[in-house]
């Protein structure tokens, strides 16, 4: 590795091993971080990134290996000790209190005191202003955090870490819930912190972000370090090859075909405060994209079509027949919805792969009132194979699978219903690169068989690369209907409301 000797490593992790039951999650991983650098940590789900980070933040203890801070071996027994050493971790699900003010959130657990146990609000306000000045942002200190939105919550997390004098900042999927603008702002802040000497470990599934903010990148695969290079010396292909250990052919494998007759027809769908006058159609053999920023009403429309949430006005028809707003009716008629929140609404984590995969076809699985176990097994085996589930074990609880494989189980559940229309809400969010490509290939195969797909995705390249045409939502309305091959900036302008007047057909 090309070490530059002038900056000694702030953090060195050497030969870190960690085993969970029968699984060796980390097989002797080395990792080092220099002062004032942004070091990206990438790898597929299950590669060991989270485990490594949890060891660094004191949540897990390594079975073997050493951690050194500025050359001195340290033992990080618990998260409190990690914070005392200046190591702060910012998770995608923030650990803040939405009902408290920004100021209260910043200092919760380590408030400055005056005599008699009183809180020193003046000191808190002063420190808060210093920290926000350091970040180059301004936030209303007395505002209720829950009113500010996810992007600000993330800022407050970072500010909180700085207020505790963090020298090492770990950002785990920090941009997953952010809009494009907020991501920009976050990158600005990261660059600013780097200049002030803060070292940042940056974990993300979005590889283009790695190239935009990181100085170096370390790739993990199956619990081993398979590469560590300055970002300037590598490209995206190299990263993907290292991560998956094989070549990925085309990024978005689409075979476009002329669409067939209308399958899903939505007219004038409205719910006060959520979405208004939504018209859309999905034809046989096409993938229609529903783009827009988080909060633009995309998921709400999908949920209303499927009958999960009610709507005030409008009609939904499937193959010409009206669809009553009930999920069970939608399932029977051949509609499927892959929800955004996989672990809360998609998979039943405590149940086995086979039980999950047959959950939506339970009524078809009876023989004389009883479950036909042979049929159950054959259905689950079929989709385990078709989706290349790993490990291919139908009796494993879904909780034991990686995120990408859990998503495949939920997909398998819907494919078992032989749907005519599939609504996919963020189908590849939090899914590793290999599984993502497999899901894309599957989507193309499905539309080849005449299925219609409505795809919601915040991943702009994905939604542009995979869809036949694109609907863009802004503030609950469809503001643009774009053909295949539209430019990303046109989509972004529509999504941010700059294209509200001009309907491109």
């Amino acid at each position: 590795m090309a070490e530059s000797p002038q900056t000694p490593p702030l953090l060195e992790m050497e030969g870190i091993q960690k085993r969970f039951g029968g699984i060796q999650a980390l097989k002797g991983v080395d990792f080092d971080l220099r002062q004032g650098e942004v070091h990206a940590l990438v790898g597929e789900n299950g590669a060991g990134k989270s485990t490594l980070i949890k060891i660094l933040s004191g949540a897990y203890q390594p079975d073997a290996g050493t951690v050194r801070l500025e050359g001195r071996a340290v033992e990080i027994a618990d998260p409190r000790q990690a914070r005392a050493l200046g190591i702060a971790t910012i998770y995608q699900e923030t650990s803040l209190y939405p009902d408290l003010s920004v100021l209260e959130n910043l200092f919760i657990g380590h408030q400055p005191r005056r005599g008699w146990g009183r809180l020193d609000w003046a000191a808190m306000r002063r420190q808060a202003r210093e920290v926000f000045a350091q970040l180059g942002v301004e936030l209303p200190l007395t505002a209720r955090l829950g009113d500010l939105g996810k992007a600000y919550a993330q800022l407050v997390e970072i500010a909180k870490a700085l207020a505790q004098h963090a020298r090492i900042l770990v950002m785990d999927e920090a941009t997953a819930a952010l809009t494009a603008d907020d991501v920009e702002r976050l990158f600005g802040i990261i660059r600013g912190l780097r200049e002030q000497g803060v070292a940042i470990i940056y974990i993300s599934h979005r590889l283009e972000e790695v190239f935009r903010v990181a100085d170096r990148v370390t790739v993990l695969r199956d619990g081993e370090r398979v590469g560590a290079e300055p970002v300037a010396e590598v490209d995206q292909d190299w990263l993907i090859r290292r991560m998956v250990g094989r070549e990925l052919h085309t990024l978005y494998p689409r075979n476009y075909r002329p669409p067939g007759k209308v399958l899903l027809e939505v007219r004038g769908l409205s719910r006060a405060g959520a979405f208004e006058g939504v018209d859309l159609e999905v034809h046989e053999g096409e993938i229609v994209g529903l783009a827009g920023l988080v909060g633009s009403g995309r998921s709400e429309v999908a949920r209303a079509i499927f009958g999960i949430d009610p709507y005030d006005a409008g009609t939904v028809r499937l193959s010409g027949q009206p669809l009553p707003p009930r999920p069970w009716a939608a399932v029977r008629k051949g509609l499927a919805l892959l929800p955004e929140d996989r672990s809360r609404q998609g998979a039943i984590l405590a149940m086995s792969v086979r039980a999950n995969m047959t959950l939506a076809v339970l009524p078809d699985l009876q023989r004389g009132g009883f479950l036909d176990e042979a049929k159950e097994l054959s259905i689950s085996k079929r989709f385990i194979q078709a989706l290349q589930l790993r490990p291919p074990n139908p009796d494993l609880p879904v909780a034991n699978l990686s995120g990408g494989n859990q998503q495949k189980v939920v997909l398998g559940k819907w494919l078992a219903t032989e749907p005519r229309v599939l609504i996919l809400d963020e189908p590849t969010q939090g899914v590793d690169v290999g599984a993502k490509a497999e899901i894309h290939q599957l989507m193309d195969r499905l539309v080849g068989q005449g299925v219609g797909i409505l795809m919601i995705s915040s991943d702009l390249p994905e939604v542009l690369g995979m869809t036949d045409r694109l609907l863009v939502m802004h503030r609950g309305k469809i503001v643009a209907r774009l053909p295949r091959g539209s430019a990303p900036d046109v989509v972004m302008r529509a999504a941010t409301g700059l294209l509200e007047e001009a309907h491109v057909r």
Partner: protein, 316 residues
């Protein structure tokens, strides 16, 4: 399905340890007659516990089962005294239980009130209504064929033991081998995902209360028939025994996991403890305290396990 073998093993170990103590201190405990008594005494608890388990599997609870037992006992005894044939008496008891369960189920699903509140309310309403009609009077002189259900034997074993065995086996079968059984686990584990998968969650939730009521009605036929009188306030504290058997037997109080074998072991534990205390000449007052302790241990065990599971959840 997630199966908690750990719980089943801990109950078995506890029972073996208890057996060791009894062998040393009160060897007379080990008689065929005593074992039969214990099994007869837990039979109606175990049958009702199967119903309770179905309710708890879906993440609900039914604390009105004691009142249901009491109403079914009164109706069955009255019907039998009126000269109705035994088959009809069975149907009345089961039907009444199912109807009361339906009331609970509809209140829970239609008005979306938590089942603890609903069944706490119906517990009082059921009991109050019963006392209004019976004026608190006891029922005496029960017909021979009625009492024969609980006191009779078949192939040398008391009828209630047969009934318990058949009902538990059938219950295990229904839970593992029918779509309805599968739906109970799904609804209890993750109601949102179950609903999105096309399972009619309110229907499933209402149906478990009906099943529980019906099973309490059936349990009644092996409970009320063993006494010479039926008191209007019979079955008080029954809900406690039933819930203890279910929770101690490893059914997760938050829903989603549990086995019929666990329920059977839980019921056995409840039955054996009381008898063992008598044989060890320890005051019976300790029985309730011990059962309470079992519940606390079981729930603590669940809480620890779920914490451990979230901590060692998949690395990324």
């Amino acid at each position: 399905m997630y199966v908690d073998r750990g719980r089943q093993i801990s109950i078995a170990v506890f029972l073996l340890a208890l057996a060791g103590v009894l062998l040393a201190a009160a060897p007379s405990f080990f008689s065929l007659g005593n074992f039969k008594d214990i099994l007869v005494n837990i039979s109606y608890v175990a049958i009702a516990a199967l119903g309770m388990m179905m309710v708890i599997l879906t993440g609900q609870i039914d604390i009105s089962v004691g009142a249901t037992l009491s109403i079914c006992s009164t109706l069955a005894a009255t019907a039998s005294k009126a000269g109705l044939p035994l088959g009809v008496v069975f149907l009345i008891s089961i039907g009444a239980g199912a109807a009361l369960g339906l009331v609970n189920g509809l209140l829970v699903t239609r008005f979306k009130i938590h089942s603890i509140i609903v069944t706490l309310g119906t517990l009082s309403v059921f009991r109050g209504t019963l006392i209004y009609f019976t004026k608190g009077a006891w029922i005496y002189q029960l017909p021979e064929d009625f009492r024969g259900v609980g006191l009779g034997t078949f192939l040398g074993l008391p009828n209630p033991i047969w009934a318990m065995a058949v009902v538990l086996l059938a219950g295990a079968w229904v839970l593992s081998a029918t779509p309805w059984g599968r739906a109970l686990y799904a609804v209890g584990s993750n109601p949102d995902a179950a609903r999105l998968s096309g399972i009619r969650v309110p229907f499933v939730q209402a149906s478990v209360f009906v099943a529980c009521g019906a099973l309490v009605g059936l349990a009644t036929m092996f409970y009320a028939t063993r006494f010479s009188t039926i008191q209007s306030n019979t079955g008080q504290g029954f809900e406690f025994l039933v819930i203890t058997a279910v929770v101690v037997g490893g059914t997760n109080i938050f829903g989603g996991s549990g086995t019929v074998l666990g329920v059977a072991l839980g019921a056995l534990l409840v039955g054996v403890t009381g008898t063992a205390l008598t044989f060890l000449k320890i005051s019976a007052y300790w029985e309730q305290a011990l059962q309470g302790l079992f519940i606390l241990l079981a729930v603590a065990f669940d809480a620890l396990r779920s914490r451990r599971r979230t901590r060692t959840g998949g690395g990324g």
